[in-house]
């Protein structure tokens, strides 16, 4: 079989921000480092991980909507073409669509129906999307402040799915939605993926992600620590590779709700070697050295002790 080019292929991506420290002194704050992911056609890649690990920044990086003080290094390719600023400008909103994380992305002064139609949509498409997500006809005549949290979230999802995007980046599309509605949204993403689109799904609802996604990338402190097959999460901590992924699994309310102590390292004070080492039970001397990403049991892991 001919190997198809992935829709999006990201290698060794780093993102840093230029910040003022004291007076006119500036420093670079690296928030994403050596990140590798790829999305194929017809695939849902779920990205889970700690809050503030750079998941949403990755979304902004893919769309090229980072603030001015950010600098990006590394290799990012869209169907094999290098992703330049001009290409990003051409693609976003057309071939790459975003479901933003914050409901603040809605224009507060525009009725939701009109916002969802946007520049390139049509009324029919918008009504179809609203119907799909269980939003009533009169919702299109409402302003964002009149919506509940879950309704606003469904409006945001509608904006992304009405176009003909090849790649959808969904940044936490489900919080505030009821379980049934979230499952509906997920199965819609699944349908879109089965039609040949690629979907990056950034989420905290791991239990939902593993039911609908193909692969799961686990983020910690600005890098991927593991890429697992979605089934691995269903099988439990033994099937997972990285200690952080196991800890995530065990922290789910239905699996013990067990918090591990500590916080993820702050972007300004990233330790050398393994980023998870300060909180890890299996930590040894070798963890302080360089840790390469390696293939293990059909996934990838960034840990020397994983087996």
């Amino acid at each position: 079989m001919e190997h198809k080019e992935p829709i999006l292929d990201i290698k060794n991506l780093s993102v840093s921000f230029r910040m003022y420290e004291k007076g006119l002194e500036q420093k670079d704050l690296k928030v994403i480092s050596n990140l590798n992911i790829h999305v194929d056609e017809g695939e849902i890649l779920a990205i889970v991980g700690s809050s503030g690990s750079g998941k949403s920044l990755l979304a902004s990086t893919v769309l090229g909507i980072l603030p001015k003080n950010a600098s990006v290094t590394g290799d990012m390719r869209y169907y094999g073409q290098p992703m330049t600023i001009e290409l990003q400008q051409r693609l976003r909103g057309r071939e790459i669509a975003l479901v933003p994380q914050s409901v603040e992305y809605l224009d507060p002064l525009m009725k939701t129906g009109k916002q969802v139609v946007g520049v390139r949509g049509t009324k029919e498409k918008q009504r179809l999307a609203f119907k799909r997500y269980g939003l009533q006809r009169e919702v299109e005549e409402l302003y964002p402040f009149q919506l509940s949290g879950g309704m606003a979230r469904r409006v945001l999802v509608s904006t992304a799915v009405i176009g003909d995007a090849k790649l959808i980046v969904a940044d936490e599309p489900t919080p505030g939605m009821s379980k049934a509605m979230a499952e509906e949204a997920m199965s819609n993403f699944r349908t879109l993926a089965d039609e040949g689109k690629g979907i990056i799904l950034i989420t905290h609802d791991i239990d939902l992600a593993f039911e609908y996604a193909d692969r799961i990338a686990i983020f910690y402190a600005g890098t991927t620590v593991e890429t697992a097959l979605a089934e691995d999460f269903g099988r439990g901590p033994e099937a997972l590779r990285h200690p952080y992924s196991k800890a995530l699994w065990e922290a789910l309310p239905q699996n013990g709700f067990k918090p591990i102590p500590g916080t993820q390292p702050y972007a300004g004070s990233i330790p050398g070697g393994c980023l998870f080492a300060p909180r890890c039970l299996y930590k040894t001397e070798e963890c302080l050295g360089e840790i390469p990403m390696r293939t293990l049991r059909g996934g990838e892991v960034c840990c020397i002790h994983a087996d």
Binding site: G149, Q254, I260, T263, Y266
Partner: protein
Amino acid sequence: MLIEAKDICFSYRKNRSILEHVDFTMDAGERVALVGPSGCGKSTLAQILAGYLKPESGTILFEGKPLPRKGYCPVQLIYQHPEKAVNPRWKLSRTLTEGWEPQEELLKWMGIEKEWLSRYPAELSGGELQRFCIARAMSPKTRCVIADEMTAMLDVITQAQIWDVMLKMAERRKLGLLVVTHRMELAERICTRVVRFEELVEENPANVL
């Protein structure tokens, strides 16, 4: 009774009422989960109980008296969207100390980094902001916390950490805790009682007739 809401009616638009004759009571030390479909009025009820919205009819009593109109409100609401609950032009140190001065220990428990205090809300992630909103509400004068999808935007480990702190505080201070959530697993894990929003509406005899 810590909170007693009687016969609450509320509507945002004329003839489209969202809450009709809703009764709700909660005792000190009780942890109640409120679940229900999206857009049914859970957040509205939360805002009414915390005194942010005035019901069209009905009464809300806190320890037998109406909620104080002045000074610190003993019922604190933690919003679903932290980015909407902080002043974008204030540094977070100012937001954090709006109501009281949290001790360093609490900040450590909540996982708040010292460096974040000198930043603006736009420079932090949603999950990081939410920790500030929680710490801000946990003054010793708080008697009841209403958490409206408080941890939906946090990763599961941070969720577990924050609920661990919250539950310990609630236990020690005998706080009332109302948890609005969509996640049954979470509700069953942390709450002593689960209330379905539909039940609140149906139970009232005024609605049966």
